[in-house]
């Protein structure tokens, strides 16, 4: 499992950005400190000490622009853990996110949805199994060929 965690340092990309977490301990907006960039997989930590250290991943090109993350690690070898993930390079803006958050999203909740009648195209619900699906509204919609 720890090998997996270590691998993540070079692969956290736009997903971290999209989550929009402010996880930095020391300032995600600061430029990268002089740490050696790690390109590709860092299967083993490069220091023998057990203190916290940072590693910077390669700048990943995403459809939103370049994204670069920095991780703070502690422990050694199999006991290595990620203490922090900071995004040190952001695309200038995240267009899609801004767009959807710009909606005055009209979520219509009515006591009865007009006597339980509603026009819908699809249904979102807790995970359907094949059995649960059969009795669901979604199944009815799937069969209703317009």
């Amino acid at each position: 499992m720890n090998r997996i965690v270590l691998w993540l340092m070079s692969t956290l990309t736009v997903l971290v950005l999209l989550f929009g977490y402010r996880t930095s301990l020391g300032g995600a907006d600061q430029p990268a400190s002089p740490v050696a960039p790690i390109v590709g997989a860092a299967a083993e930590p490069t220091t023998a000490g057990s203190g916290a250290r940072t590693v910077t991943g390669p700048a990943a090109q995403t459809r939103y622009g370049p994204v670069q993350v920095e991780l703070t690690l502690s422990g050694t070898g199999a006991a290595t853990t990620i203490d922090d993930v900071a995004v040190i390079q952001y695309p200038s803006q995240d267009h899609r996110d801004a767009e959807i958050n710009g909606y005055a999203l009209p979520i219509l909740i009515q006591e009865t949805l007009d006597q339980q009648s509603a026009d819908v195209d699809m249904v979102s619900g807790a995970t359907y199994t094949s059995v649960g699906y059969r009795s669901s509204l979604q199944a009815a919609l799937d069969q209703a060929q317009a």
Binding site: L8, T13, M122
Partner: protein, 261 residues
Amino acid sequence: MTVVRVASGGTDARVVRHVAQIMGMPISLALRGRRAGTSVGAAAWEEVQASLRWSDEVFSTWRPESTISRLGRGELAVADCPPEVAEVLAIGEVARRATGGAFAVCRVVDGREVLDPSGVVKGWAVDRASAVLRDLDDTDFTLAAGGDLVCSAVLDRPAWRIGIEDPRDPSRLVAVVPVRDGAVATSGAVHRGEHVRHAVTGRAPAGVASVSVVHSSLTIADVEATCGYLQGAGATAWLRERGRTGVVVMPDGAAEVVSRR
């Protein structure tokens, strides 16, 4: 009994539907516009299914020969896996940190740590599979997998109307959300029993019936809905604190909208 009518868009907005069973769940596609009901639309649907089947082959914890199963047994290193594996694990790691460990891609079963990123994979896989649909010109789509979905609609046609299922009665709705370009995911106990459990306590959440999240990315909507549901009675406050948009349904059926504004 709810009477649900299929939303009728404009005159040229005939909805063509496709259904398949992949990853052990129903996959539903609705297309409308230029490529709906054409061979191009049908070919895109085939590609969507192929993409989801690939995700299932890589990530299914039910298949002993899947990449994720072999990784979990230590037969493979992450470096030996397709890069998508690291991507999924990274998403899970971010969610674990955001929930203080409630969400995790590893579970302890019979004293053994088991790798199970299923909580990430569904939304991620559907997001990934929907890419081919975005390339269809002048065509709108809604792609749903087991109750989570991603939508796109051009500006001159109405937004898709997404019903939020009543967690106490799958034949009813508690809300309707119009979505033009975005995703809706719902987490709750209905349909599969209490399949969402706190990774640390091992218990199913109490004090909340379902959590739906609306976001531009289904990957994020799916994980956030699960993380929100794991907060139990604190789901609404948690989503609000994180600036999310969604609907929280309480055990008594009361529904509350969480919105940034």
